[in-house]
């Protein structure tokens, strides 16, 4: 892919989760806070794409519940209810600091994105420095391929190819994907790649894996490649996110705390987890 002038490949970030975040971990905000920390914007504009689930209100409500009282501007983009979006798609996508893709059907996700030209816009946004994040279908979509259950039984499915290799998700939560993926990697149908448990995320800078983080103790990841027809599996140990985690931009200072308070007041939110 061509780099647009001025865009530095090291500023391109993708965070791919095997499962987790607000839709799957309503009481555990560690991965979502990590996602917010990936943007340098003081108050990042976070655009949620619930496309893979058919824009369910459950996902949209969970997104708002998680992000409404955090230091960010949360917004969702529904491709089934576009009449709710007043601005052009280009403006919404290219104006985002973070794009967060939800889980669901990977086949539908890609088909609907392509029908609306969103695949091109997302590539452009990534090249311009927008953080791309997502879980499950919303994680596999960034790779060359994933293992999808969009039609019922798990099967390999090509992704957008922003990242090299393949990804399979819910390695612990939906174990039936893993053997399909391993067989496809072994016979060369899919390139080598990663298998992620629920709660584990891979952070890519450019196309290089930079960090492996987790919201749950015991959750793991593995890298698998086929070498001369044999599978070579490497177990990867994620960093457990938590109290010690300072976020990508370090600790929170007083000014940010103050801004957070103002932010909450402005939104008329009394409590909130902060």
């Amino acid at each position: 892919m061509n780099s647009p002038p001025g865009a530095d490949i090291s500023s391109r970030l993708i965070f791919a989760m095997g499962g987790g975040g607000f839709t799957m971990e309503p009481t555990n905000p560690l991965l979502d806070d990590f996602v917010l920390g990936l943007s340098h914007a003081k108050e990042p504009r976070v655009v949620f794409l619930p496309t893979a689930a058919g824009d369910t209100t459950a996902q949209i409500n969970a997104f708002q519940a998680r992000f409404a009282d955090r230091l960010c501007v949360p917004e969702h983009l529904s491709l089934f209810r576009l009449q709710e979006t007043k601005r052009p798609l280009e403006e919404v996508v290219l104006g985002a600091d973070i794009i967060y893709a939800g889980g669901g059907s990977m086949r539908n996700l890609l088909a609907i994105w392509r029908a609306h030209g969103l695949d091109r816009l997302l590539l452009e946004a990534w090249q311009a420095g927008t953080v791309l994040a997502g879980l499950s279908a919303g994680a596999m979509c960034w790779f060359q391929a994933g293992v999808s259950r969009s039609s019922g039984p798990p099967e390999p499915l090509a992704g957008l190819g922003l990242l090299e290799g393949s990804l399979t998700v819910h390695a612990d939560g939906e174990p039936e994907r893993l053997p399909v993926w391993l067989a496809a990697v072994r016979d060369g149908t899919l390139p080598g790649g990663w298998a992620l448990d629920d709660g584990v995320g891979l952070l890519f800078r450019g196309r290089a894996l930079e960090r492996i983080v987790s919201s749950r103790p015991g959750a793991g990841a593995q890298r698998v490649d086929a070498i001369a027809g044999e599978l070579v599996r490497e177990r990867l140990q994620p960093e457990l996110l938590g109290d010690a985690e300072q976020g990508a931009l370090g600790g929170i200072d007083e000014a940010v705390e103050e801004l957070r308070r103002v932010h909450r007041l402005r939104r008329g939110i009394a409590g909130g987890r902060g």
Binding site: F80, R81, T85, G104, R107, I112
Partner: protein, 269 residues
């Protein structure tokens, strides 16, 4: 199934020969919205063998039809396509091969119908004004015309459709809310309305301009005694199940193909 659309539902059911017809709902354009699916069953399951086909929940075993899509759809008397976003719907259909299956189902004699996006999809071209500036969309092309729905919903809609037809979009049909076009093969057999004042128009290019000709529309409520001719009363009598994506889009078209006739046919203007 739309607001004050029960007359249109009755009309399309009257086209079916089976005493208890098999009717399958495709809610794709709404993202398989649960409340829309519930509304469908509430409306059709008393008198029909109702089923729905979801493209979003196939991994969870709650996708309605579990068997092979083609087998199921070919065995239906009526396929009812819900409203919503036509671009998203066509994208998802193509990814699952549903576009081909629906084409075959139509040729086999299954009646196809639907409001709004569920109308636009059967035509060769459609004017989608769902978001931002209106733009042309390529439909499945069973009907070799263009289609514009909600013709009375916005004052600018007429001018937009005329502009597109003048600029090379093929000739077609503009339809107001509450009005349905009934095609037999590719020929317009009837235009019916659930509203006394519902209109439809044939719009075609003529030299440098565009000609709009009214289509004869039959009001389906003419014989009903208890039905006051006001849209609001009619709407209030309909079951409402939340804010369906298709709410406020009571536009319907019935596309009927009788037997294995070829798709291409002469256009009766």
């Amino acid at each position: 199934m739309e607001k004050d659309g029960s007359l249109l539902d009755e009309y399309v059911l009257s086209l079916l020969k089976a005493s208890r017809p098999r009717v399958c709902f495709l809610p794709t354009a709404s993202g398989d919205a649960d409340h829309y699916v519930v509304r469908f069953y509430r409306r059709f399951s008393p008198s029909c063998e109702a089923s729905h086909l979801s493209l979003f929940r196939r991994d969870q075993g709650t996708g309605g039809v579990e068997e092979d899509f083609a087998t199921h759809l070919f065995s239906q008397d009526l396929i009812y396509v819900g409203g919503g976003n036509v671009v998203s719907m066509l994208g998802a259909w193509r990814a699952h091969g549903l576009d081909e299956i629906l084409r075959k189902a139509w040729r086999k004699g299954v009646v196809l119908c639907g409001p709004s996006a569920g109308s636009l999809c059967w035509f060769a071209e459609a004017l989608s004004a769902f978001h931002g500036a209106p733009r042309p969309v390529q439909g499945l092309g069973l009907l070799p015309y263009s289609n514009c729905v909600h013709y009375d919903a916005e004052p600018a809609r007429r001018a937009e459709y005329h502009r597109f037809v003048g600029d090379g979009m093929r000739a077609g049909y503009a339809v107001e809310d509450g009005v349905a076009l009934h095609f037999r093969s590719t020929r317009l057999a009837a235009a019916v309305s659930s509203r006394p004042d519902g209109c439809a128009y044939r719009v075609k290019p003529a030299g440098d301009s565009v000609i709009e000709t009214p289509v004869n529309v039959t009001y389906l409520g003419a014989d009903s005694i208890e039905r006051p001719p006001t849209a609001s009363t009619g709407a209030a009598s309909q079951p409402q199940a939340g804010n369906a994506a298709a709410d406020g889009e009571p536009q319907a078209i019935a596309a009927e193909a009788n037997g294995p006739e070829p798709v291409a046919a002469s256009v009766a203007a």
